[in-house]
C-alpha cells in the first residue's frame, strides 16, 4: 500500500499477483496457495469448509456462539499453519479436520475452565472413539454435499432433512417424480465417488 506522503520513502516492487485459483482447484492446491498468503484461495477454502467445520463444532460444543468462535479460530489457525501442510503426505481434508478438532478442543477446555462444568455423560451416549468416528463421518459427508450440483443437493436436503416424501419433493420443486428419483440416484452416486476410499 502506498501513502502519498510528500517524503522520500522506500518502496518494494510488488511481485506479479498470482491469478485467482480455479473454482475446481483441489483442497491441497488451495492450502499450498494459502501458505503463500493467497487470500482468494483462503476465501475459496473457507466457502468449502465453513459449514462442515461449524457442524463439527456444534456437535461438540453444543453452543452456537462458542461453535462460531471455534470456527473463526480454526480458520485463523489454517491461515497461520498452512505452510506446515505437506501435500505429499496426504490429502488436505484430514489435515483440516485435525486443525478444526484442536481448535474445538481448546474452546471446549476453555468452557470447562470458565464454567467448571463437567459434561454430563449419559448412559447410551457413544464413547469417545465412536463420537470421533461419527464426527468425522459427518464432517466428510457435509463437505461432500457442498460438491454436489445445486439441483441434486436440494432433493437430498428435502428428502433427508425436511421430511418430504419423493412426491412432495416433486410438487415442491415443480418437477416430475421421475426427475426427483433420477437426481436422488445421481446425488448418491456422486457422493459415493467423492467419498470412495475415505469412509467406505
Amino acid at each position: 500500500m502506498e501513502l502519498a506522503l510528500e517524503t522520500p520513502h522506500l518502496r518494494a516492487v510488488p511481485a506479479e499477483p498470482a491469478p485467482p485459483p480455479a473454482v475446481d482447484a483441489s483442497d491441497s492446491d488451495l492450502l499450498v496457495r494459502v501458505a503463500d498468503r493467497d487470500r482468494d484461495a483462503f476465501e475459496l477454502l473457507y466457502q468449502r469448509y465453513v459449514r462442515s467445520m461449524f457442524g463439527l463444532a456444534l456437535r461438540r460444543l453444543r453452543d452456537r456462539q462458542r461453535a462460531e468462535d471455534a470456527v473463526q479460530e480454526t480458520f485463523a489457525a489454517v491461515w497461520r499453519s498452512a505452510a506446515s501442510y505437506r501435500p505429499e503426505r496426504g490429502p488436505a481434508a484430514p489435515w483440516l479436520y485435525a486443525i478444526a478438532r484442536n481448535a474445538i478442543v481448546d474452546r471446549f477446555r476453555t468452557q470447562m475452565d470458565t464454567t467448571g462444568e463437567v459434561p454430563e455423560i449419559v448412559a447410551g451416549d457413544p464413547g469417545p472413539a465412536d463420537a470421533a468416528e461419527s464426527s468425522f463421518v459427518a464432517w466428510r459427508v457435509h463437505r461432500a454435499l457442498e460438491e454436489l450440483p445445486q439441483r441434486e443437493r436440494e432433493v437430498v436436503e428435502l428428502a433427508y432433512w425436511s421430511g418430504f416424501s419423493q412426491s412432495e419433493v416433486a410438487e415442491y420443486l415443480h418437477i416430475p417424480l421421475g426427475t426427483v428419483k433420477t437426481r436422488t440416484r445421481s446425488a448418491l452416486a456422486r457422493l459415493a465417488d467423492l467419498l470412495e476410499g475415505e469412509l467406505t
Partner: protein, 202 residues
C-alpha cells in the same frame, strides 16, 4: 422422518451399485442435517483471521528478523526526514483502494484531509462498484495500523447498480506514517471487522 432407501431408489438398480448407493444413504442419515450458518459465518472470512502471523521455519525467522531491522531503520529514516521537512501528516494524501474477492468490481479513493485544531482527520471516500447490501448490512471504514485493525472511522451504505458513493468520514485519532484503511462489510451487532471489500493497492 428418515426416508426409506427403497422409496428413493427404484428396483432396477441392483447388485454392487445398489449396495454402494445404500451405503451413501446410511451415511447421510448418520451425518444428519448440516447446520444453518449465522450471518457472521455466512459473510466469509474476516480480516482478523488473516492477521495472525504465519508459522515460519526457524532459519527463515532469523532472516525475517534481519529484514525487519532493516525496514525499521529505513522507516525511522523516512520518519526523521518527514519530521524535519515539516510536512508529514499535515498535508492531504490519497489512497487508492481496490475490491477484494468479496467485491471484485469495487474501486475507491480515500482522501485524508488535514486535521482540524481538535485533532479530527476528515476524509472523503469516493467508491464505485460496491454492491447494495441486504437488510441489516452496511459498510464500515477501518483504520489499519501495523497490519491490524486499529479503529473504526465511519459507516455508510451503497445503492449498487453502478451508482457511486461519496461520503465524508472522520478519524478522531492521532495518525501515524504507515497508517492505512480498509472497507469491510458489516452486519448489525457485529463487534469485529467483517469481510474486507476494499483494501489499499500494494
Amino acid at each position: 422422518m428418515t426416508p426409506r432407501f427403497e422409496d428413493l431408489i427404484e428396483g432396477d438398480v441392483t447388485g454392487a451399485e445398489r449396495a454402494r448407493l445404500e451405503q451413501m444413504h446410511e451415511l447421510l442419515v448418520a451425518a444428519g442435517a448440516p447446520p444453518e450458518l449465522s450471518p457472521r459465518l455466512e459473510s466469509g472470512p474476516t480480516l482478523a483471521m488473516t492477521l495472525s502471523k504465519p508459522h515460519k521455519p526457524f532459519g527463515r525467522r532469523i532472516a525475517l528478523l534481519a529484514a525487519t531491522v532493516a525496514i525499521l531503520a529505513a522507516a525511522f529514516l523516512v520518519g526523521y526526514l518527514a519530521g524535519n521537512r515539516g510536512g508529514g501528516l499535515a498535508s492531504a494524501r490519497t489512497l487508492t483502494l481496490t475490491g477484494t474477492h468479496a467485491a471484485p468490481s469495487a474501486l475507491a479513493s480515500l482522501q485524508i484531509l488535514p486535521s482540524d485544531t481538535s485533532g479530527n482527520w476528515p476524509m472523503k471516500l469516493a467508491a464505485t462498484g460496491l454492491p447494495k447490501l441486504g437488510h441489516k448490512w452496511y459498510y464500515e471504514v477501518f483504520l489499519v495500523r501495523h497490519g491490524k485493525v486499529y479503529a473504526p472511522c465511519g459507516t455508510f451504505i451503497a445503492k449498487g447498480g453502478g451508482r457511486g458513493v461519496n461520503v465524508t468520514l472522520n478519524a478522531p485519532y492521532e495518525l501515524e506514517p504507515g497508517d492505512s484503511w480498509i472497507v469491510t462489510r458489516q452486519h448489525w451487532g457485529g463487534h469485529t471487522a467483517g469481510t474486507v471489500v476494499l483494501r489499499p493497492t500494494t
